[in-house]
Symmetry: C2
Subunit: 149 residues, 2 copies
DNA sequence: TTATATACTTTGAAAATCAAAATAATTTGT
DNA sequence: ACAAATTATTTTGATTTTCAAAGTATATAA
């Protein structure tokens, strides 16, 4: 049992590092290599519908001030648009440009390919087990540590 | 099938973000809260046996120059020692101090608690499925993207 | 209509990162 | 043996990422 814990922990830690390494390498060799990883994560967090600064910063666990500087750079690189909300002009609405949406889609498909590699080789039952395990882990975290979502 | 891919992807992405958030929160509220996340990751990468700069930097996917600055800070905070190897004085051997080993152990036990939460509630067979899934994913990455280990 | 609250940006400073140049130690080729 | 090449690391100069706190603009409440 202690053995399983060690094994799962090591696998998760390695997976973690591998995914970060691969994402970085994929980004640098792809068509959107003027983006940094931070910028790409911001693009992912924005997604396809307009989001406010507070929403995006909260989702990424960074301060709104930090996000402002990243958005400034993404504006200059023409990946996003910044507009005041017409109903309440305090709110800023961030939207992806066409280029931003392309980058978003490419990164999504990169993720899909990654995940496909596990799911494809699995039986239906094993697949269910994997999903349930991941769900349990996520739920445990959220309960235990009170994550806001 | 397309459905499973979406589900697993979303779960992995959430897990990823959650773990980062929780690790940061745990660090900030614990006894070693003078450490940044980067510094903690360096301490984890060093582990309990002496490592060289190139080894540690490679493992973390950062340049050796970047690592030097982090090690400088960890030296000042007394978490590590820096010594030349006696057989080949070009090599630097980084070792954890007593304090460094304590931080290392605390972080390890944090990880163990995390993982225990999944493994504990599982049957022996489901456990095997989870481990095999994670192994397959890791191996796929390493083959596909030629990660050095 | 002043005061308060909310959403965001700016500022100042530290930490994290890289590429390229510099330093130091070892190995290789002649 | 000794100059040249290689290897391991540090330093330098610059950019990015980050935060906390102060500042700005807009909306709500008293």
């Amino acid at each position: 049992m202690q053995n399983s814990i060690e094994a799962v922990n090591e696998l998760l830690v390695n997976l973690f590092n591998d995914i970060l390494t691969i994402e970085k390498a994929a980004l640098e060799s792809g068509p959107f290599n003027d983006l940094t990883m931070t910028e790409l994560h911001v693009i992912e967090a924005i997604g396809l519908t307009p989001r406010t600064m507070t929403q995006v910063a909260g989702q990424l666990g960074i301060t709104v001030g930090t996000l402002t500087t990243t958005i400034n750079r993404l504006l200059k690189k023409e990946y996003v648009l910044r507009n005041h909300a017409q109903n309440d002009r305090r709110f800023v609405e961030i939207t992806l440009t066409h280029k931003g949406k392309l980058a978003h889609r490419l990164h999504e498909s990169f993720h899909a390919t990654m995940v496909k590699s596990i799911v494809d080789g699995m039986s239906e039952e094993d697949n269910t087990v994997l999903i349930e395990s991941l769900k349990r882990l996520t739920e445990f975290f959220r309960e235990q540590y009170d994550i806001k979502k």
